[in-house]
């Protein structure tokens, strides 16, 4: 079984549009939307959820003012700047609290307890492109990396049971926690970039990350015709760094048009040039 993650570094390069289209041309796979804090794949694959479960959020400290003696030990010890002293009271800044428990453990009068933060929900769903595992991170929640790891465990269980050949992952933007969780232990990273200065900058950083995990990097230049000189620069960079460019996709309105119809570009325009390119990408990544 091969695991393939679509990443980009920079947001908005077309990861989800391309991944969901690929989902329609690659056979025998499980799909995961790893962009748990701004998931979009469900909008074009219109999944029917068959399993829905909640996932507990991070814990936050809470002060019981009946017991608090205003000693301030908690604030002195907190390294996340999550406790402030205002209006003669120590207060937890929940958005900063990391749930490390230190204040709770250190409070000499037991006035601090930990409470559960907002919880997330994860789903196993049926789509016309196959089984999909996805999630909705609790608003403001901070455990996106852990949630991605959970989705990947679930997908792997399904893929093993169903004897699937592939797991196709739509990654989040950036290079941080949820991205690391999306590329650890995969076989192929498809890097969707665009011919902009930001696109090149971000491609370099995400490749440096995926190289830590010894994966095969394959590059897709999306909207390549929006700036042909910059596309040349991207091609030069890829050549110098042994990055294989597997496709150049032109800017085309049909990506947005298909999204408006809640379809992937393959469903919406099966005979289009774009669909042909998507099929070629699908062939390339499933060939070896």
């Amino acid at each position: 079984m091969k695991q393939i993650t679509v990443v980009s570094g920079k947001g908005g390069t077309g990861k989800t549009s391309i991944t969901s289209a690929l989902a329609c041309v690659i056979k025998n796979k499980v799909i995961i939307d790893c962009d748990v804090d701004a998931a979009n794949m469900y909008l074009v694959l219109t999944p029917k959820n068959i399993v829905e479960e909640s996932y507990p959020g991070g814990r936050k400290a809470e002060i019981d003012y009946e017991l608090c003696t205003n000693c301030g030990i908690c604030m002195d010890l907190c390294r996340f700047d999550a406790i402030e002293y205002v209006d003669d009271k120590y207060k937890i800044i929940e958005n900063s609290c990391d749930g490390c428990d230190l204040c709770m453990r250190a409070c000499p009068v037991g006035a601090i307890k930990m409470k559960q933060g907002f919880s997330s929900t994860w789903f196993i769903a049926e789509t016309r492109a196959g089984t999909m595992v996805h999630a909705k991170l609790g608003i403001g929640e901070d455990l996106s990396g852990k949630l991605v790891s959970l989705l990947r465990e679930k997908a792997k269980e399904i893929a093993e049971k169903e004897k699937n050949d592939f797991i196709l992952l739509d990654g989040p933007p950036g290079i941080g926690c949820p991205v690391i969780a999306s590329v650890t232990g995969i076989d192929i990273a498809i890097i969707v970039t665009e011919p902009t200065q930001s696109g090149i900058h971000d491609l370099k950083r995400v490749v440096e990350l995926t190289n830590n995990f010894k994966v095969e990097n394959l590059v897709v230049i999306n909207k390549f015709d929006l700036n042909l000189e910059m596309t040349k620069e991207l091609e030069k960079h890829c050549k110098e760094n042994n990055l294989e460019i597997i496709a150049k996709v032109p800017y085309d309105k049909i990506f947005v048009d298909s999204m408006v119809e809640a379809k992937t570009v393959v469903d919406y325009a099966p005979d289009s040039e774009i669909t042909k390119i998507i099929r070629e990408i699908g062939k390339r990544i499933t060939s070896d």
Partner: protein, 285 residues
């Protein structure tokens, strides 16, 4: 008029034009009112502001956390440090008298040092990234947070970058995409949040998530619709129903896209767009 405000440019979805709006707002307002202004790039995973501002590096600081070092001569293998660690970053096998710190997942909270009663834990710096200051023209500066590649913890780098703020100036911050913790850290003390959205189903979906997120910190918000003309009109009826102001609409235009792709500043090339930014600022100041 008091210009000393913190304006954050955010969006749930990536690639909607956050950095474009942050940089162009900065130049348009700074030059029109001739005021001190500072840009802070809080998108520490992929900081792109300096691609446009092309500032000259003047200062660099490491962002470190303190992580434990266990002295196995003093350690009694009581296991309390591992018990205190909420991140499972200390591997302890009592039967084998084995104890080790997993440095890459330690968040440096200090609970293990607090737990150890035998002075067996000291601490060392562990680098997560850096914060750099760049001079840009007309005595302005850019503060950029940059997360090390491979480090999962963006929040300390964002916090450190924000600590460099110059309160006696207009501050414009470029937020990371998404709706999770790095975004909350960026927006939590803003005076105003500009949400940049595109009128597509993905754009609307993520704008809704972002508006829910912003409700957590209850700030003043307004929306910039970028790439207006693509997608559908659904975003307009949503914003009307939610009673959220549309601050500006930037049409989808291949010429603007080309300027952006070359790392150029649009308000310096197109005076009519500069005027749009000045008009927008009138609505929020």
């Amino acid at each position: 008029m008091n210009f000393n405000k913190k304006i954050v440019i955010a969006s749930g979805k990536g690639g909607t034009g956050k950095t474009t709006v942050a940089v162009n707002l900065f130049y348009a307002i700074r030059d029109f009112y001739n005021i001190p202004a500072q840009l802070i790039d809080c998108d520490v995973e992929e900081p792109n502001v300096n691609i446009f501002t092309k500032g000259i590096l003047k200062e660099e600081k490491d962002v470190n956390i303190k992580i434990p070092v266990i002295d196995t001569d003093k350690c009694t293998y009581c296991g309390l440090c591992a018990e205190y660690c909420a991140y499972n970053a200390i591997v302890f096998v009592e039967s084998m008298k084995h104890i080790a710190v997993m440095e890459d997942i330690c968040k440096g909270c200090g609970a293990c040092s607090y737990a150890c009663k035998f002075d067996a834990i000291t601490e060392k710096d562990y680098n997560l990234g850096k914060v750099q200051k760049f001079s840009i023209d007309n005595n302005s500066e850019l503060v950029e947070g940059r997360l090390n590649i491979g480090s999962p913890f963006a929040v300390p780098v964002i916090k450190f970058a924000k600590k460099q703020e110059n309160k006696n100036s207009l501050i414009i911050m470029d937020a990371p995409p998404g709706t999770s913790c790095p975004v909350i850290q960026t927006i939590d003390d803003a005076d105003y949040i500009i949400l940049v959205a595109e009128p597509t189903p993905f754009g609307l979906n993520d704008l809704k998530l972002m508006i829910e997120t912003v409700k957590l910190v209850s700030k003043k918000i307004g929306v910039v619709i970028n790439k207006a003309g693509i997608g559908s009109d659904e975003i307009y009826s949503y914003l009307k129903a939610e009673n959220i102001e549309i601050l500006m609409e930037i049409p989808f235009d291949k010429e603007i896209a080309k300027l952006y792709s070359d790392g150029k500043i649009i308000v310096k090339e197109k005076p009519e767009i500069k005027q749009m930014y000045i008009d927008m600022f009138e609505k929020i100041k």
